[in-house]
Each structure stands twice: as structure tokens, then as C-alpha cells.
């Protein structure tokens, strides 16, 4: 028996699905006429992106997806978690051992945070190496750095919420450190602790910062980040601009005039307003973004199931022999502290050097004003940045070595 031809098969499918498809299409048209969903989808999905190096550009979307995952798993945890010094640990212990899927959700929240920090770090490195922060994208770089700092803040405040030994002593160290801020240190410390000493209010304040204050700042900044990205278009990397330095004025004008939305980016260094070769965001880039994000979510899930999230014994302020160890993303800072004599330790190790580092990071677009995009043609930023990254990696490894051998 011969199989039906393609048109015949299509006609058959259309006939079979007609009872469902027609009302669905009518409903969609009705909603679309009133809400403009098609226009919105078109605006969201149809834009041009640089063709080359597209896998590297998926890190930004992956960051967004993991942040959404954090919000979702965080909401699930909030259904049971009690932000009180007497019940926080108990509630997490319940989630961990008695709540169905509770341990997995908690594990995903923890590993999601870890993976998020790694992906943001890679995203920043990619942006830095490709010179994507240059005119006109300076503001987007600054917003990105602020987002990174907020995620670090979410990480440290989240680490205090279990109110186990690790969380309690982390809170002690953090609130002790802020006391060294010149002029306002004591005031900031009392605000964070809810008084001169650690107490019940300390936990509720860090809880409020973790689930209200920082997300309330984070979400609008993410929106601004995306708006700025759409306004100027994805820069991509230097490989998308090969030959632009030697192209004639006519070729450049032709490239500019025939550029697809959202290009050309203005204001721009000559030649860098439009990538030489473009691709469609949908479906080409969306497919890559989805694949990378999916792979990361799978990794997070597997880590949550296999390793899970630790929960130490309930906080005990009397346990003076407990040695607090920082979260891995604060290991470089922890190591930096022990490199200074006692009197300089916190002022220089916590405020001066990290303060200088953060300021320089924010100011990168204004320090590197040359039109060059290739990393080897920007040694004035690449060489110090390479040393900064090596320094952080070395400090983290040395901290592991020191803490392991305590």
C-alpha cells in the first residue's frame, strides 16, 4: 500500500484538526485585536543579531533564565520558610527532610545561585574581551556591573537565611566588617543587626533585603539592561567587524543604510555601527539561547539531586570553636584579608582595594576609549584585566589551601 503524498497528508491533517484549530484561531484573533500580541511578539523576536560567535552571546539569555529560576524556586521556599531565629532552621529542616521535593527545590535555589554567578562572570568576561562596552553601550556595561554586585548581595544575604552555624557566623562576620566603614560604620551595623548586638531582627532584616529590597532593585535594572540592549543592538565581537577599518566610505554608507533593525547603533565609532554579517534573532539565536539555558537548568537540577544544599546544625552563638568559612565566591576577598596586618585588614582588604577594583570596573568604558575591538589591540585594558582575573583565581585557590589546612 502506497503512503499518501505530502499535499494529501497536509489536507488530511487540516481536516482532522479543523474542529479544534478554527475556534483556537478565532480566539487568538479576538485576543490579538485587543492586546496586540502579534505586534508585541514581532517586536520581541524579530531583530537582527551578529552572525559570528553567536553561542557566546547566549550567556546573557542564560543569566535571565536562571534569575527567573531563582525567583520561582525562591517563591516555593517561601511557602514553608519562617524568617525567625527560632524557626528558620526548623522550617528548612522540614523542607529538607519532610517536604516532598523540598530538598530538590532548595538544592536548585542554591546551585542556581552558584551557576548564576559563574554565568554572569563569563558573560562579563565575554563582554569585556569583545569590547562590547564601547560607544554607545557604556551605560549598559554600568548597569551590568550593578546587576552583578546585586547578585553578589543576594548571594551573601541568602547564605544567612538558613540560620544554621554557617549562616549565623557569616552574619556575625558581615555585620562586624561594616563597622569599619568610616563615619557611618556603627550606624550601618546597627541597621543591619537591628540593634547593637546580633538578634532576632538581624535575620528578618537580611530576609527583607534578600527577598524585597534587592529584587526590587534588580528587576527594573534587568529591564533597563534589556531596553538598552534592544536600543543599540548586540555588538557581538570583533570577528563580526573584520575589514571595517579598510572599507571605503561608500561601502560603509551602503552597509549603514541597508542595516536591519535595531542597527545602526548610534552614536558609534566609524565602522562599528553595523556588524558585517547579520542573522535573525528568531529562530537562529533563540534556538542557541534555549539550548544553553536548558543545559544549565539540567546541570542545576542534577547538582540539586546529587549534591543538594547543606544544612549545618542550628545556630549556636556559644559555639566559639566554630570556624566560619565564606561562600566560594567570597574566597578571594577572604584571602585578601589575611594578607594585611591586623590594623589594615578590614579597611584596606574590604573597602579600599575592592572599592578601587569596583570603581575601575564601572569606569572601564571611559578608560578604554580607543575604537579598537580586538583584544590584542587593547593591551591597556587587557593586561591589567588579565592580572586582575589571575589575582582573583590565585587568591581563591590560596584561600582553599589555607582553610583546608586550618
Amino acid at each position: 500500500m502506497s503512503s499518501p503524498s505530502q499535499p494529501a497528508r497536509s489536507a488530511l491533517v487540516a481536516k482532522l484538526t479543523r474542529p479544534v484549530a478554527r475556534p483556537m484561531a478565532a480566539t487568538y484573533r479576538w485576543v490579538d485585536e485587543r492586546m496586540g500580541i502579534s505586534d508585541l511578539t514581532h517586536q520581541l523576536l524579530y531583530e537582527a543579531v551578529p552572525r559570528r560567535g553567536a553561542w557566546a552571546y547566549s550567556l546573557g539569555s542564560a543569566t535571565l533564565i536562571i534569575i527567573v529560576l531563582q525567583i520561582v524556586t525562591g517563591i516555593f521556599l517561601l511557602w514553608t520558610y519562617v524568617p525567625s531565629t527560632t524557626e528558620a532552621w526548623e522550617s528548612l529542616n522540614y523542607i529538607e527532610h519532610h517536604d516532598e521535593f523540598g530538598a530538590i527545590v532548595r538544592g536548585m535555589h542554591l546551585w542556581g545561585a552558584y551557576v548564576l554567578l559563574i554565568i554572569i562572570g563569563l558573560h562579563m568576561i565575554r563582554t569585556f574581551v569583545s569590547g562590547s562596552y564601547k560607544k554607545p553601550r557604556e551605560l549598559n556595561w554600568i548597569v551590568g556591573v550593578l546587576l552583578f554586585l546585586m547578585v553578589l548581595g543576594l548571594g551573601i544575604t541568602g547564605a544567612m537565611l538558613p540560620w544554621d552555624q554557617a549562616a549565623y557566623w557569616t552574619a556575625v562576620v558581615v555585620t562586624h566588617v561594616v563597622d569599619y566603614i568610616p563615619f557611618f560604620g556603627n550606624w550601618v551595623q546597627e541597621i543591619l543587626r537591628g540593634g547593637p548586638q546580633m538578634g532576632p531582627e538581624t535575620l528578618t532584616r537580611f530576609f527583607a533585603i534578600h527577598i524585597w529590597l534587592l529584587p526590587a532593585l534588580l528587576v527594573p535594572l534587568i529591564g533597563l539592561h534589556l531596553i538598552l540592549l534592544r536600543r543599540h543592538g548586540e555588538h557581538g565581537s570583533w570577528v563580526n567587524y573584520e575589514g571595517v577599518e579598510t572599507e571605503s566610505e561608500e561601502v560603509r554608507k551602503e552597509r549603514m543604510s541597508s542595516a536591519e533593525y535595531p542597527y545602526p547603533a548610534v552614536p558609534s565609532d566609524p565602522g562599528y555601527a553595523v556588524p558585517v554579517d547579520l542573522d535573525d534573532f528568531f529562530p537562529s539565536q533563540v534556538f542557541k539561547d534555549a539550548l544553553v539555558s536548558f543545559a544549565l537548568v539540567v546541570i542545576i537540577f542534577v547538582m540539586a539531586v546529587v549534591v543538594g544544599a547543606p544544612l549545618e546544625r542550628a545556630a549556636n552563638p556559644a559555639a566559639l570553636n566554630y570556624v566560619p568559612t565564606p561562600e566560594w565566591f567570597f574566597l578571594p576577598l577572604d584571602q585578601l584579608l589575611v594578607q594585611f596586618p591586623q590594623a589594615w585588614m578590614i579597611p584596606v582588604g574590604v573597602f579600599v582595594l575592592p572599592g578601587i577594583g569596583t570603581t575601575l570596573l564601572i569606569l572601564v568604558p571611559f578608560l578604554d576609549r580607543s575604537p579598537d575591538r580586538e583584544p590584542w589591540r587593547r593591551p591597556e585594558v587587557m593586561v591589567p584585566a588579565l592580572f586582575a582575573v589571575l589575582f582573583l583565581v590565585f587568591e581563591a585557590l590560596l584561600a582553599v589551601n589555607r582553610l583546608f589546612n586550618l
Binding site: 593591551p379 593586561v383 589575582f391 589551601n401 589555607r402 589546612n405
Partner: protein
């Protein structure tokens, strides 16, 4: 029957080799110091090879591709010689002259040494594939660069394994946990120190070859090539030495905390003079290297006040670091600052003994100045004003000086580290002077009978 007893019972004539401890020490020191130089060149050279070939590929730079081929040839030749030295040292000298120590060490570090052996095979496979199939692999450049990367990883794994052994000898953990002994207090600082140091060393050797070519090549083309590889190697040499003061600080601190006698010997005792000579050499590397960068830019027709200032600052720091501690800010100041006693007795957390305080200032200056100098130099190179082949005798001599200084510092560092453990071969476990008088375990030897001191059960431990 334990393994040493078995050796003593079955092969009594192998027990003693008629060589004094002094001669045995000198032989091992000579061979191992030579081996370290070859091994450092291999490990650092593979990384430079992978980076250079990648850059040559991506930037379509024929000079980098040509240099990659020369480098892989040099690495192939030195690998054979360096490996022969290592195998001779292990099979003849260690087994013949230092058998108690070596058996103990292999038993404790059995798994790291197994990993090292496997990585060694991987290194041979990758190196000779890249070397022999260079031209064929030019058509599949990504595969060639991938193999070079794999080669670097193999060599780095070997270095990691041997660093576990070397650091354990200085700071063994009094524990029967293999994990604690693997990640002993000086393992990561030594690993980082060597990883960065090996790249700098390989770069310095490349710079030395460039310097020799500048001085002795008669053909302008060859001199131009030598000029370029001299500059290229020096960037690695200076660039990676920048990280060494910071890592060295951490390394010294861990030694101070966990092997105080060795630290005292290095920083305040008999070896502190050698240590001071070492920082003098470090000053020479930075100063002569930065001087080269400044003069090379000037030869290219550009003026660089930044590099001139960097050279002056580096020279001043060299003078400062070379000043004997007894002149000013003397050792009395060190005592006055309570820095001559360990932390647990209330001392400062500064582990550099006679190095403080002004030598510390010089080292911090070197680090900062070198970052600025390398950045400024690369900026000038990128402007395209440099013409390779212009370098004169002064540049050639500077490159050779840096190469020799780096080689010397590598040998000196090995001498200081190994000698600081005296009278032990493994701190508090195995003595040097027991090695040439091998005795069955019934007498008063180190812990050689039964299981090893970390409790690893080997097949022969379970014997009758």
C-alpha cells in the same frame, strides 16, 4: 614481610653503595636542578606553543606560525634530554643512593605518581604527534591547537603530581589521610608559583635565544626573526614574573605557619643570604627587562616617557632590594617590629624575615611598574611603529641577561627549598644521613616497617 625487609633479606649486596652522603647529595642536586630547568621549559613552553599557534592561526600571522614550528622542535629535543635525566635520576640515583627515602615516598605518594606516569604517556603521544605531523595538521589547524592544548594539560597534570610530592616533603601532614597529604599546606602555593614561574622561564629561554640571534646572526632576515622572538619571549618572561612576589608571599607564609624551622632557615638563618641573592636576581630580571622594553620602543622611533619612568623606578627598586639589611631599617627593626617571631607567639603576619620592610616596598613597586611597563610596551607595538631587525647589541645583551638571571633564580630557588629541610629529606620523617646506611627495620631507622607512615596498605604489607 615488609618491603624494605624483603629487599634487605633477598638482596643484601644492594644495600649499600660505596658513595658518601656528600657525593650522593651533590649528584642528585646537580641532576635534579638540571632536570627542573628542562621540565620547566617543557611545561611553560607547551602553553606558549598553544597560545602562539592559536594566535598565528586566528591572526593569520606567518611569523607566529613559523615560531610555533621552531618551538615544537625545540620542545621535542629538550623533552628527550630532560626525560632521560629524570629517568636516570629515578632509576639509578634515587633507587641506589636514597632507597629508604624513595621507597617511603613512592608508597605515600603512590597515586599521584601513577597519575604522573599516565600524564607522561599522554605528553609523549601529543608531543610527537604534533611534532611529526606538523605540516599535515596545518590543514586541520583546530586539531593541532587542540593537541597543543592537551599537551599543556598533560604537562600541567605532571607538574601538579610532582608538586604534591615536593610540597609534601616540606610540609607533611601528621595524618593517615591521603587527601590531607595531597592538599598539604604548601601544595597550592607551590603549584601556582611553579605554574606561573614555568611560563616565565620558558619565555626567558626564548628571549635568550632571540638575544643570541640578535648578536650572532649575520643574515638580516635571521636577525629580524631573532629580534621578534626576543621581544615575544620577554613579554612572557616579564609578564608572568609579575605575579611571583604575591604568590611567593603566600608560599612563605604557609612555610612559616607549617614548617617553621625551614622558614627560619630560609628567611633568617643560613639560607637567608641565598634568598637575598635571589631577590637581587629578581630585581635584575625586572630592571633589565623593562630597560629593554624602553630602549626597544625608542629604536622603533617612538618616545615613551612612561617606559622611561618605569625603568627609573625599577632601577631604584633594584637598588633598594639589593641593599643589605644591616644598613638601615635593619634586622633590629625587624626584631623591634616583632616580625622575627611566629604569629602564634605574637609576631606580625609578615613572613619575609630579613626581607622587610624596605625589600617589601621594592617588590610591590616591581609588581606595579612591570604591569604598567608591559601594557605601555604592547600599546607601542600595536601602533605598528616597531621594525623587527633594528635591535642592537644592547638589546641582545639585555635579553641574554634576563635569560641567564631567570635560569639562575630557578636553580637557586630549588637549592633553597630543598636545603631548608635539612637534616630531613621529608620533614620530621626521613633523615638525610640515614640513606647511605640502609639497615633492616629492626634497628632504629625511620618508619619503614609495616605500613607506610600514612597507612597506605600495599600488596607486600599483607604478606606473611
Amino acid at each position: 614481610m615488609s618491603f624494605p625487609t624483603l629487599i634487605a633479606a633477598t638482596s643484601p649486596h644492594l644495600v649499600r653503595v660505596p658513595i658518601s652522603t656528600g657525593v650522593a647529595t651533590a649528584l642528585v642536586a646537580l641532576l635534579m636542578l638540571a632536570h627542573i630547568q628542562f621540565a620547566a621549559f617543557q611545561q611553560g613552553g607547551y602553553i606558549i606553543l598553544a597560545v602562539t599557534d592559536f594566535l598565528g592561526w586566528k591572526r593569520k600571522d606567518e611569523r607566529q606560525t613559523r615560531f610555533s614550528k621552531h618551538l615544537v622542535t625545540a620542545l621535542g629535543a629538550t623533552f628527550a634530554f630532560g626525560s632521560a635525566l629524570a629517568i636516570f635520576s629515578v632509576l639509578i640515583l634515587f633507587l641506589g643512593l636514597w632507597s629508604q627515602f624513595f621507597v617511603e615516598l613512592v608508597r605515600i605518594m603512590f597515586w599521584p605518581l601513577v597519575v604522573e606516569g599516565i600524564a607522561f604517556v599522554g605528553e609523549i603521544a601529543c608531543l610527537y604527534t604534533v611534532y611529526s605531523q606538523w605540516d599535515r595538521l596545518a590543514n586541520v589547524r583546530s586539531l593541532r591547537v587542540g593537541l597543543e592544548l592537551l599537551l599543556s594539560i598533560n604537562a600541567s597534570i605532571q607538574m601538579l603530581a610532582i608538586d604534591v610530592v615536593a610540597s609534601y616533603m616540606l610540609t607533611p601532614r601528621p595524618s593517615n589521610s591521603l587527601a590531607l597529604n595531597l592538599l598539604n599546606p604548601t601544595e597550592i602555593p607551590l603549584e601556582l608559583h611553579r605554574f606561573v614561574g614555568n611560563i616565565a622561564f620558558a619565555g626567558a629561554m626564548i628571549a635568550l635565544v632571540g638575544g643570541l640571534r640578535i648578536l650572532f646572526s649575520r643574515s638580516p632576515e635571521k636577525r629580524a626573526y631573532g629580534d621578534w622572538i626576543g621581544h615575544y619571549g620577554l613579554i612572557y618572561a616579564i609578564g608572568f614574573t609579575i605575579a611571583q612576589p604575591l604568590i611567593g608571599w603566600e608560599y612563605a607564609k604557609e612555610i612559616q605557619l607549617h614548617a617553621y624551622a625551614s622558614w627560619y632557615s630560609m628567611m633568617l638563618g643560613g639560607l637567608s643570604v641565598a634568598f637575598l641573592f635571589q631577590v637581587f636576581l629578581l630585581g635584575a630580571i625586572f630592571t633589565v627587562g623593562i630597560f629593554y622594553l624602553w630602549r626597544r620602543v625608542k629604536l622603533g622611533g617612538s618616545r615613551s616617557p612612561t617606559l622611561a619612568i618605569c625603568t627609573a623606578l625599577s632601577f631604584a627598586s633594584w637598588l633598594l632590594i639589593s641593599t643589605p639589611s644591616s644598613l638601615a631599617w635593619s634586622y633590629e627593626d625587624v626584631v623591634g617590629a616583632n616580625a622575627n617571631v611566629p604569629i602564634w607567639q605574637g609576631g606580625l603576619e609578615i613572613p619575609w624575615g630579613q626581607m622587610i620592610p624596605f625589600k617589601l616596598v621594592a617588590l610591590i613597586t616591581f609588581t606595579g611598574v612591570a604591569i604598567v611597563a608591559v601594557t605601555a610596551y604592547l600599546r607601542h607595538v600595536n601602533k605598528g611603529s616597531m621594525r623587527w631587525g633594528d635591535a642592537g647589541r644592547a638589546q641582545g645583551a639585555a635579553l641574554i641577561t634576563v635569560g641567564i638571571a631567570v635560569s639562575l633564580i630557578m636553580a637557586l630557588m630549588g637549592y633553597i627549598r630543598e636545603d631548608s629541610r635539612a637534616p630531613f629529606l621529608i620533614t620530621n620523617k626521613v633523615l638525610i644521613n640515614q640513606q647511605q646506611n640502609f639497615t633492616p627495620p629492626s634497628s632504629t631507622g625511620p618508619s619503614m616497617n609495616g605500613t607506610s607512615s600514612v597507612g597506605i596498605i600495599m600488596p607486600w604489607d599483607a604478606g606473611p
